[in-house]
């Protein structure tokens, strides 16, 4: 994502890494309208574009089927995967990771459309997926009658990581991939439409505030729903993306999306994230604290491994600290009421 964002922006020669950027003495004030416009152009639209591309590739791959032909399965060794299945798994992983990056900070059309219910209903509900396969919906219209728990990328994962998905399972997976790709296109179009708006301080400020609140929520989702809760459950199958073995990659992609929003792309300072916004306001100490917390979270999420409990605890803590800085210091300094706040009553 960072690479595609840089490409979109033309990779300016003066690009500095996040670490180098922090050393600058003077920071321009970032108007809310600039923050929103740049976040759209350099974070959300590239992320939505990437997901639209990879989900379309998954759709096209699964349109060719994923089951082994009877002759092929007899001829090959039991361990060998049919080429179509192997390719579908690869496409699925690419789409999943692009979704994680995009949905890490769930804003705009992702919320208005409740896209996560269509694309990423998790934990996976195998019984409901099996029932949906048995119902064999013929097309997207028929698929509308199937409930969200039996759909989306987790359901496709469940089907593709069967030892040998049959033709009916592959057919259902193909339909789900069509739906994901269509949703991805709609999301992309909606984010692109947002970039065309004339943003003013009045229209951008509430959006900026909302997005920062959603980033707090995204950090909490990563800390608890994706890492802490499965760790407490103690069952291997509780880890996100367990069937595909993509748990670690999934965490890292989610973090990548969060970090990109918080700190801007690694090599393009046109959008310098929430830290740039804070520095422009003169909240240098808070910006530094957010940078430092994000650095620790970056390292610890990269190292987090379900097989090593200590790394899991460290990652949870580091993500929690990042959330705490964003919520208690950054949002408070900007007088933002956070929807995921731990600080309010009820």
């Amino acid at each position: 994502m960072a690479a595609s964002a840089a490409a979109l922006a033309g990779t300016p020669g003066w690009a500095q890494s996040r670490r180098q950027r922090k050393q600058r003495a003077a920071w321009p004030y970032v108007y809310p309208s600039d923050f929103v416009r740049n976040a759209l152009q350099l974070h959300f639209v590239p992320a939505a574009q990437a997901f639209a591309n990879t989900s379309a590739a998954l759709r096209d791959q699964l349109a060719q089927g994923c089951a082994a032909s009877p002759t092929a399965s007899l001829a090959s060794s039991p361990a060998a995967l049919p080429a179509a299945l192997s390719a579908a798994r690869e496409r699925w992983l690419a789409a999943l990771l692009d979704w994680e990056r995009l949905a890490a900070v769930a804003v705009g059309p992702l919320i208005e459309r409740r896209s996560a219910r269509t694309v990423d209903f998790w934990p996976t509900r195998p019984a409901m997926v099996n029932a949906a396969v048995a119902a064999a919906p013929a097309d997207l219209v028929a698929l509308e009658r199937i409930g969200a728990p039996a759909k989306g990328l987790p359901a496709i994962e469940y089907l593709l990581w069967q030892a040998q998905p049959d033709a009916v399972q592959c057919s259902y997976a193909a339909l789900l991939a069509q739906e994901c790709a269509a949703e991805a296109q709609t999301i992309l179009a909606a984010f692109q439409a947002l970039t065309q708006r004339e943003w003013t301080t009045d229209t951008a400020l509430p959006v900026l505030q909302d997005w920062i609140g959603q980033a707090v929520g995204g950090l909490e989702q990563l800390r608890w729903k994706k890492i802490g809760k499965p760790a407490r459950g103690g069952r291997k199958t509780d880890w996100p993306r367990f069937a595909s073995g993509a748990t670690r990659a999934s965490w890292q992609a989610t973090w990548d999306g969060l970090e990109n929003f918080l700190r801007g792309p690694e090599t393009d300072e046109t959008y310098s994230g929430v830290t740039g916004l804070l520095r422009g306001r003169g909240d240098l100490a808070i910006a530094d604290a957010l940078d430092a917390a994000a650095e620790r979270a970056h390292a610890s999420v990269l190292a987090a491994d379900p097989a090593k409990p200590a790394t899991i605890a460290t990652a949870q803590k580091a993500v929690a600290q990042t959330k705490s800085v964003l919520e208690d210091k950054a949002a408070a300094a900007m007088q933002i009421m956070v929807g995921f706040s731990d600080a309010d009553g009820d």
Partner: protein, 369 residues
């Protein structure tokens, strides 16, 4: 002795801010001989907890709790029955994802319950009078509809569910007649947007009475002001009912001046009248009834405990920074406030205590130990 103390206290309440002065002059941890403990939730550092605090002791030294994955809101004692003594239930805050039954005396988790598909807790719960049914206000993540869910009080498993009579159900009460009284806050939230209020312009709060046997709506009451979100309920022994609200007016002045407490009578649900100049700042965290004293609501943002008689007469106020939980047991009561402070009367003795780095949650229950 107790009566004298209470009479004196009552007179002192009516002096309003003079009480705050009295409180500030009390020793930091007044000597209290007590067999009473506060069952509540709190956050210490980054860690959410639920458990017991022994009043009269420095909170940091006399807190025994179970670590929680996220903040709890209400913590309730299980109704007394063989094998349940000392057990309590912690309810996750909206949009809540866990229930925990725990041994409060030993600070030991007994039964975790993760929420069912597409269901989220609203932070509160209530037990039937016989203790055989646990009721939890919840919402459907697909539709946002409010629900009352009946659960086994030990396994915490769901038995059945029915509509709460509105959206955003919050606190509820099992009435002596066995009917259920539910404060439907009227505000739509969804898990993907946390606690963000998605329908402020069209919110529809009400107080609903449900038949616990059939789930049928028996009565619904609304206040005239559509921007009052009804949240917490208190009942006096004579059957008077008071409801505490949060104000959601976009107009700042209207929000700050909103009365926040309404009383239910034969004519309906009516906001009380505030004395001139009093601003409760739009947020009541809790409400309780103290026998012989009336209803007391915690106006958190105003830093005030505000008192009314059962028929809505203004009785007075006390300053308590960020007042939130109010726990009552007979003549004993405690209110929690900012930065770990508590204030109240235990064993006939005024009590004031503070523990830095500790944040009490919005609700508590006083237990005999």
């Amino acid at each position: 002795m107790v009566i004298d103390m209470l009479d004196q206290q009552r007179r002192t309440w009516l002096l309003g801010s003079a009480v705050a002065l009295l409180a500030s002059q009390l020793p930091a941890h007044a000597a209290v001989s007590t067999h009473t403990a506060l069952l509540t939730a709190w956050v210490a550092g980054d860690q959410a907890m639920a458990g017991l605090w022994q009043p009269g002791h420095t909170p940091g030294n006399a807190l025994r709790g179970v670590p929680l994955p996220n903040r709890a809101h209400e913590v309730l004692a299980l109704p007394g029955a063989a094998g349940r003594a000392g057990q309590a239930l912690a309810v996750a805050r909206r949009p809540g994802e866990f229930l925990l039954r725990f041994d409060a005396r030993r600070a030991q988790a007994l039964q975790w319950h993760e929420m069912e598909l597409d269901r989220f807790l609203c932070g509160h719960a209530a037990f039937s009078a016989d203790g055989q049914t646990l009721y939890t206000p919840e919402f459907d993540a697909e539709s946002g509809a409010g629900l009352i869910v009946e659960r086994d009080p030990i396994s915490l498993r769901k038995r059945r569910e029915y509509g709460s009579g509105g959206i955003g159900p919050h606190a509820m009460m099992v009435e002596p007649e066995g009917t259920l009284l539910v404060a439907n806050g009227g505000l739509l939230i969804l898990p993907e947007t946390g606690r963000r209020k998605l329908n402020r312009e069209h919110m529809a709060s009400n107080l609903t009475r449900l038949d616990a046997k059939t789930g049928r709506v028996l009565d619904t009451w609304r206040v005239d002001d559509p921007f009052l979100s009804l949240r917490h309920i208190a009942r006096a022994p004579d059957g008077s009912i008071a409801v505490a609200s949060q104000a959601e007016h976009s107009d700042d002045a209207a929000r700050r001046a909103a009365p926040l407490v309404s009383l239910l009578d034969d004519q309906g649900l009516h906001p009380v009248t505030l004395p001139p100049g009093l601003l409760l700042e739009g947020y009541a965290g809790d409400i309780a009834h103290l026998s012989g004293r009336g209803f007391v609501a915690s106006a958190t943002r105003a830093g005030v405990l505000a008192w009314w008689s059962e028929d809505g007469r203004w009785l007075g106020q006390q300053s308590l920074a960020k007042a939130s939980a109010i726990a009552v047991r007979g003549p004993q009561w405690l209110a929690s406030g900012d930065a770990g402070s508590v204030y109240g009367v235990i064993g006939g003795t005024p009590l004031q205590s503070r523990a830095s780095g500790l944040h009490w949650d919005n609700h508590g229950e006083l237990l005999a130990t």
